[in-house]
C-alpha cells in the first residue's frame, strides 16, 4: 500500500520533471529559430550578385592566343588521347613549314566532365579551363565549342 503510494508519487514527480524538461527543450528550439530570424541571410542573389569562384575553378574552356592572335595549339592530339569522356574532336593538318595545325577542333561540352585533363596534358599550354561557369543554351548543337568560340572564350587581357 505504502510502497505503491510512494511509487505513484515518484511516477508523478518524474512525469512533471519530464514535462518541464521537454517544454524547456521546445523553448530552446524557439529561441534558436528566433535568433536565426534576425540573422543575415546567406543567400547570394544570383543574377545581381555572383559567387567568387575558387582560384583553381575549372569552368568553360578557352584557347590561349599566340602573338598573332591565333591559337598556339600544335595539334599533337594529347588532349584527344587523354580526354576521359572523349569529347574532343581534332582534325590536324601538316603545315608547309613542318609544323602541325588544328584544322578543326571541337569540344562537346555536353559530354565534357570538366576534369581539366586536356589542360594538364597540353605540351604548349594552348587549351585552358577558364573561370566562367555561366554557359547555357537552348540546343545541344550550340553547346559544342569550335575553334573560333574557344578563342573568343579567352579572358580579356588585364
Amino acid at each position: 500500500m505504502v510502497i505503491s503510494l510512494l511509487k505513484g508519487i515518484w511516477w508523478f514527480i518524474k512525469g512533471i520533471g519530464l514535462l518541464v524538461a521537454s517544454v524547456f527543450a521546445l523553448l530552446k528550439g524557439l529561441r534558436l529559430t528566433f535568433s536565426k530570424f534576425f540573422s543575415r541571410p546567406v543567400t547570394i542573389r544570383y543574377p545581381e550578385h555572383k559567387r567568387e569562384v575558387a582560384p583553381r575553378w575549372r569552368g568553360i574552356h578557352y584557347f590561349e592566343r599566340d602573338e598573332k592572335g591565333d591559337t598556339c595549339c600544335v595539334a599533337c592530339g594529347l588532349c584527344v588521347a587523354i580526354c576521359p569522356s572523349q569529347c574532343i574532336r581534332l582534325v590536324a593538318v601538316e603545315l608547309d613549314g613542318g609544323g602541325r595545325y588544328p584544322e578543326q577542333y571541337e569540344i562537346n561540352t555536353v559530354r565534357c566532365i570538366y576534369c581539366g585533363m586536356c589542360a594538364e596534358a597540353c605540351p604548349v599550354n594552348a587549351i585552358k579551363l577558364g573561370r566562367n561557369y555561366e554557359f547555357v543554351d537552348y540546343r545541344r548543337e550550340d553547346l559544342v565549342l569550335d575553334k573560333g568560340r574557344l578563342l573568343a572564350n579567352a579572358p580579356k587581357e588585364g
Partner: protein, 336 residues
C-alpha cells in the same frame, strides 16, 4: 427605413471584413514564406515586385489559369463541394469576432462585430467543426489512397483535438459567464485579460496547441504530411480548388488567432486606450503576434508521429484541460 439602414450597414461590414480578410490571407501566404525563409537564413520570395510584394497576385493568377483536373473515378459532387465547405466554414468564423469597439458614423453607432450573437462561442465551435468536413470529404472523394489516409487522419485528429479545444476555453466561459464574445471582451477591459488576470495562462497554452492541431499546422499536420502522404487530403486538387483549400487554411489560421485574442488576450483592450474607432489596432496587433508565433513554431518544430499526436491529445491535453475546469471552479469559489 431603419431596416434599410440596418441592411446597408451590415452589407458594408460584411464586404469590408471579407475584403480585408482576403487581403490578409493573400499576404499571409507571402509572410509565411518570408518568415520561414528568414528562419532558414535565406530571403524567401523576393523576385515579383519590390521585396516580392506582388507574389500573392502572381500566385493567384497562376492558380486561376491552371488546368482544373477532377479524377475520373472521384465522387464528382463531393470533390467539388469539399473545398467550398472548407473556405465557407473558415470565413464564416469571422462573423462573430469583435474586431473593435464601435465607430460613430453619420449619427449611428456601428459596432465592429458583424453579428453580436449571444451564443457567439458556440457558433465558433459549431462552424469550426464544420470545416473538418471539407478536409475529410475532400480526401475521401478524390479516390486516392493518400487522400483517403489524409482524410482518415484528419477525422481522427480533429475530433480528438476538438474536445480538448472546447474544454480549454471552458475556464474562460466559467469566469465570464457568457458565450457572447463582445461581452467576454468587455469584461477583460483594463488589463483584466483572461490569460494573465484569472490564472488562465495554461488554458491559453492548451488552446494554442489544440488550435495548431485543429488547423492542421506543422507539428500536427498529419492530414497533409508532405513526406508520408504526399500532401494528403488535397493530393488530387489543382487550380482554384486547391487555392480554395489553401485560402481556407490561412483564413482558419487567422480565425483561431483572432478567437484566442478575444477569449484570452482581451480583444481590443490595449496598454493605453485608443479611441473606440481605432480600438481594432490592438486587436490586429495581438492577432498578428499570435499569427507570427504560429509561423515561427512551424519553422521550429518537426512533425509528430500519428500515434504520438493521439496519445498527446487524449492522455495529456484532455486530462489537463479537465483539471483546469476543476481548478477554475476552485478559484471562483475561493475568490467569490
Amino acid at each position: 427605413m431603419e431596416l434599410i439602414y440596418f441592411l446597408i450597414e451590415n452589407i458594408v461590414k460584411v464586404v469590408m471584413v471579407f475584403a480585408v480578410l482576403m487581403g490578409v490571407v493573400a499576404y499571409l501566404t507571402l509572410a509565411e514564406r518570408k518568415i520561414l525563409g528568414r528562419i532558414q537564413v535565406r530571403y524567401g520570395p523576393n523576385r515579383v515586385g519590390p521585396f516580392g510584394l506582388f507574389q500573392p497576385i502572381a500566385d493567384g493568377i497562376k492558380a486561376f489559369f491552371k488546368e482544373d483536373v477532377v479524377p475520373a473515378r472521384a465522387d464528382q459532387t463531393l470533390f467539388v463541394i469539399a473545398p467550398m465547405i472548407s473556405i465557407t466554414a473558415a470565413i464564416s468564423l469571422f462573423a462573430v469576432i469583435p474586431f473593435g469597439e464601435y465607430i460613430d458614423f453619420l449619427g449611428r453607432r456601428i459596432s465592429f462585430t458583424i453579428a453580436n450573437l449571444d451564443i457567439g462561442l458556440l457558433y465558433v465551435f459549431a462552424i469550426a467543426s464544420l470545416g473538418e468536413y471539407g478536409v475529410v470529404l475532400g480526401g475521401w472523394s478524390s479516390y486516392n489512397k493518400y487522400g483517403l489516409m489524409g482524410a482518415l487522419r484528419a477525422a481522427a485528429q480533429m475530433i480528438s483535438y476538438e474536445i480538448a479545444l472546447a474544454l480549454s476555453v471552458m475556464g474562460v466561459l466559467m469566469i465570464s459567464g457568457t458565450l457572447n464574445l463582445v461581452e467576454i471582451v468587455q469584461q477583460q477591459a483594463g488589463w483584466h485579460w483572461n490569460a494573465f488576470y484569472h490564472f488562465q495562462f495554461f488554458p491559453f497554452i492548451f488552446y494554442i496547441v489544440c488550435a495548431l492541431a485543429e488547423i492542421n499546422r506543422t507539428p500536427f499536420d498529419m492530414p497533409e504530411a508532405e513526406a508520408e502522404l504526399a500532401c494528403g487530403f488535397n493530393i488530387e486538387y489543382s487550380s482554384m480548388k486547391f487555392a480554395l483549400f489553401f485560402m481556407a487554411e490561412y483564413a482558419h489560421l487567422v480565425a483561431v488567432c483572432a478567437i484566442a485574442t478575444t477569449l484570452f488576450l482581451g480583444g481590443w483592450d490595449g496598454p493605453f486606450n485608443l479611441p473606440p474607432a481605432l480600438s481594432w489596432i490592438w486587436f490586429a496587433a495581438k492577432t498578428g503576434i499570435l499569427v507570427y508565433f504560429f509561423i515561427w513554431q512551424r519553422g521550429t518544430f518537426p512533425r509528430l508521429r500519428y500515434d504520438q499526436i493521439m496519445r498527446f491529445g487524449w492522455k495529456f491535453l484532455l486530462p489537463l484541460t479537465l483539471a483546469n475546469i476543476f481548478g477554475t471552479g476552485l478559484y471562483m469559489v475561493l475568490t467569490g
